[in-house]
Every structure is written in structure tokens, then in C-alpha cells.
């Protein structure tokens, strides 16, 4: 990135907005599948986690990869369920709703912060343009 790029901060703020909207997408997938006992492959839905990485030399943030959370599945006693084993237990997704809600809050706040930066920078450029009047 050039040093004197006038629109650099705008690109960075937009990269933040995009990253957080992706995070939001993953969170909603986790919440929607919080009770999915069979996600194909014979196991319940595995919680997904987004990994971000910084773009080189002040280029903003970018999505690195979306990885499955490898922690243990929840074991729920539900003998009536057709998927239950002999003891009556069934494996449920490793999604914890409070954690998802917390992440959702963080994602919302970061999105707002990026939008605020975009707005403030726009005002700054407009202040500069006022000098041309």
C-alpha cells in the first residue's frame, strides 16, 4: 500500500466490516444448528470458528480460514430419540448459546466501530475539501 493513499483508511474500514459480517454469518450458522444432531457423516454439527489474519503492511484484515471447533460433543440423555445409543445417550453439537451470544455482541460492536471509523474519515476528507471553497 502506498503511504499517501487518500482512500487507505476507507479500504481498511471496509475490510473490517467484511470480516465482521463473515463472523456474523458463522455465528448465525452455529446458532441455527445448535440442536442439529445429525449433520451428515454420522456426527452432530460441529461448531465453526472464524480465523482472521492481518493483511500485510496496514492493508486491513482478511479472512484466513473457517475451522471446526474440535472440542467434545455434548452428551444428552434422550432415550426416545431414534439416534440414541444403548444407554439412551445422544451426541449433540458442541455449540454453547451463551458463548455464541457473546461473540455476536463482540461482532456487532466491532462492526459498529469500523462503520464509525469510515464515517469519521469521510468527515475528515470533507473538512479538507472545505479548504477548496
Amino acid at each position: 500500500m502506498e503511504v499517501d493513499n487518500v482512500f487507505g483508511p476507507i479500504d481498511i474500514a471496509i475490510s473490517g466490516l467484511r470480516a465482521q459480517s463473515k463472523q456474523m454469518e458463522v455465528i448465525s450458522s452455529n446458532v441455527a444448528n445448535a440442536r442439529t444432531a445429525d449433520a451428515g457423516k454420522g456426527e452432530p454439527y460441529r461448531r465453526l470458528e472464524v480465523l482472521f489474519e492481518s493483511d500485510d503492511d496496514m492493508g486491513g484484515v482478511k479472512l484466513d480460514k473457517i475451522l471446526p471447533d474440535m472440542s467434545d460433543f455434548l452428551s444428552v440423555f434422550d432415550p426416545g430419540n431414534p439416534l440414541a445409543d444403548e444407554q439412551g445417550y445422544i451426541a449433540m453439537p458442541n455449540v454453547s448459546l451463551p458463548v455464541e451470544m457473546m461473540n455476536l455482541n463482540i461482532a456487532t460492536r466491532v462492526y459498529q466501530a469500523n462503520a464509525a471509523i469510515l464515517k469519521r474519515y469521510q468527515q475528515m476528507v470533507e473538512t479538507t475539501l472545505e479548504l477548496l471553497r
Binding site: V6, F7, I10, D11, A13, I14, L17, R18, S21, L118, Q122, V125, E126, L129, L132, R133
Partner: protein
């Protein structure tokens, strides 16, 4: 008949006069700043430059509006306007250019990741492009009004 020939002669004279003044201007630039002489002698005036920029901004705004309208259209690829690169290339080339001939071009970058429905429009990116476009447009408009004010100032001198 005589009148018409006289008019033609007058026009030719005027042309020669203008050509000479332009030539004098050019050499004046060459003495003060060689770089600006090569850059500016080909362009008609700053108003033409700004006009070309504003035309490109207009088209880009249309392209962004189109992209946002097709946010969920399956198979749609976002369109972008290519103008600045063409403009720079024209300014750097050695032959004379006509600013009205540099047309902003529409193209599909096809670089952004494609969603499951074959659409690659990202709302946030479009908003960012729009903000940039607005600021650029504002800068051009301010420059143009400044130029007009200068002209007015020159005309007011008694």
C-alpha cells in the same frame, strides 16, 4: 463574396494568432518546468480534465447502483469502471490526446470471491466504493467551482 473572403481571412488570422499565443505559453512552461510542459501541453484546459473526471464518476455511480440492485441476483458479477489507469496512460504517452476520446470503460474484475449463487457482489465493498466516489466527486466539483471563480475574478477587472 468579398465579405466572405474577408471573414475567412480574419478567421485564419485569428487562428494563427491563437496558435502563436499557445506556442508562447508552451515555451514559457518549458522554461519554468519541463515536466509540466510535457504533461500539460497536450491537455486543453483544467476544465476539460475535471469534466472527464466527473463523467467517469457519474458512470461509476451508475455501476455501483447497478451492483447494489443486483445484490442477490444469481450469477451476477460486479461491474467496475476503469478510467484512472486509461487517463494516466494517455497523459504519459507522447502523442497528443483528445480528452473527449478517453471514455471510461465498464469491466468485470471477477476477483472477489463468488457466493453459492454465483454472485460476487459484496455490500460493504460497494458502500466503500460509493464513499470514495462521493469524495472524489466532491473534490472535482470544488475544483471546478474554484476555477470558475478564478475566471469570474479575471472578468471583473475593470
Amino acid at each position: 463574396m468579398l465579405k466572405i473572403t474577408a471573414l475567412k481571412c480574419l478567421a485564419r488570422l485569428l487562428l494563427i494568432f491563437f496558435e502563436q499565443t499557445r506556442f508562447v505559453q508552451g515555451s514559457c512552461f518549458a522554461v519554468t518546468n519541463r515536466y509540466w510542459e510535457t504533461k500539460m501541453s497536450k491537455t486543453n484546459s483544467i476544465v476539460d480534465l475535471i469534466e472527464a473526471g466527473i463523467r467517469a464518476e457519474n458512470l461509476r455511480q451508475k455501476a455501483i447502483a447497478n451492483n447494489i440492485a443486483n445484490l442477490e441476483t444469481p450469477g451476477y458479477r460486479r461491474i467496475d469502471v476503469k478510467f484512472e489507469e486509461l487517463f494516466m496512460k494517455a497523459l504519459d504517452s507522447t502523442e497528443t490526446i483528445d480528452l473527449s476520446e478517453i471514455e471510461p470503460q465498464l469491466h468485470q474484475p471477477k476477483q472477489t470471491p463468488v457466493k453459492s449463487n454465483g454472485n460476487d457482489v459484496n455490500f460493504e465493498t460497494e458502500v466503500g466504493e460509493m464513499v470514495k466516489n462521493t469524495l472524489r466527486h466532491k473534490a472535482y466539483i470544488r475544483l471546478l467551482s474554484k476555477k470558475f471563480k478564478q475566471m469570474e475574478l479575471a472578468m471583473e477587472v475593470k
